[in-house]
Structure formats: C-alpha cells, structure tokens
Symmetry: C2
Subunit: 125 residues, 2 copies
C-alpha cells in the first residue's frame, strides 16, 4: 500500500496503517493534504511579513479537520491555527497576512474551500 512519490528531486512516502493492510511507513494520503494546506498558507504568511519588514519567531501552523461519515470520506470542516511570537504592535499586520493568504494567495486553501468550511485563528505566544 506504500507509494513513493517523486516530485521534482524530492521523494515522499505515503502509506496506510496496519488496520488497513499497510505498514504505516509514511503518512496517510488524506492527512498529507493538511500538510499541503499548512505549508501553502505558511509560505504566504512568511513572505507577506517579510515584505512588510515585520520581525517574528516561532511560527507554527496546526490543522485540525473532520471527515464526512460515509465513503468517499472528504473533509467537511478544517481549522487552521497560526501560532506566532510577534510584537504587539505588529499583530494587525499578522492578521492582514493571514487574511491575504486566505482570500487572495493560497491556492491550496482556495481548493479546500470548495469542499470544506475553513476557519482560521491566530494564537499569540
């Protein structure tokens, strides 16, 4: 059940768990989609904050999602939580960066929005 994906010079292994006949050698393909989502909006936020010359640290992005009950199971609700250490006077800029990613730049999020309700939250560390 394990597949090695070659994307340019990079290699990603996906698999399924023992209970589905796999060996759990890599993340499940559906969960991997959430890494696409976090990675995509993360690139936007970093590049927007850099353009605004705003300093920050400890940026991490958590995704949490629920699936429909019946197969084919698809995500119906996704919550994206951005955690970041940033000066209080720059919080409005962080909010702007997240909104720009959500509404204008992040193609992966735009695709997710066609099948799921996507919610975002910022947590200041």
């Amino acid at each position: 059940m394990a597949f090695t994906s070659t994307i340019d010079e990079h290699t990603i292994l996906t698999d399924t768990g023992n209970d589905n006949g796999g060996n759990n050698e890599g993340p499940g393909p559906k969960r991997l989609m959430l890494a696409s989502l976090a990675g995509c909006t993360g690139i936007d936020v970093v590049s927007i904050l850099n353009k605004m010359k705003v300093e920050f640290s400890e940026l991490s992005i958590d995704t949490e999602a629920t699936l429909t009950e019946n197969p084919p199971k698809t995500y119906n609700h996704v919550k994206v939580t951005y955690k970041i250490k940033i000066a209080e006077e720059n919080r409005a800029k962080m909010e702007k960066a997240v909104h720009l990613s959500e509404d204008k730049y992040c193609g992966v999020m735009a695709m997710f929005k066609t099948f799921a309700k996507v919610e975002t939250e910022i947590v200041y560390l």
Copy 2:
C-alpha cells in the same frame, strides 16, 4: 519558507523554490497535493485487486495537472495515469478497481473533483 509537518510519527518537509525566496528543501505544497491523490487512489487499487486475488506488478501512478491563471491558483484539470503489468484476462478487473476508487472510495479524488476535472487512464505494460 520551509515547513516541517508532523503527521503522527512521520515528518514531511515542504518548501518553495529559490525564485520565490525558498531553498527548495522539499516539494512545493501544491504539488504535494498530487502525491496525496496518487497515494490515495493507489491504496484503493491495490486493496481492491488484492481482494479480487488478482496478481499484478509494476504499478505506478502519474499525475499531471494544470492550474488556473490568476491567484489563488487552483488545479482545474488533473489527469491520473495508472501504469500496471497485469494478465490480459484481468484487465477488466483493473478497470473496475479504478472505477471503484474514482466513484466510491477515494476521498482525495472526491475532493479534487469539487474543483477540477479529473480524468483517468490505464496503461498496460
């Protein structure tokens, strides 16, 4: 721009290319979605063929996709090509396995279908 995603005990690195300010340390998040698609339908096909007790080898899955022109750029057309070595008398079973994945089981494909036209093809080796 590089993000390390932790999915259960697995770690995936995404990044962006030098021309976007990244270091190309991992696949781009949008391309990673295609690995989710191939991995998901691959698990279905393998498990259906196993259940049918059909022998096969050299299964690989290629994905090819086009993006919309304006940001947020989303996939609008995706072609999934299954390559497989399988006895001629089992080809109809391979077609059935692909159709079951497309229509009934593959959640990732069902999600892709909400934003893109998804086409499948089987190539017998």
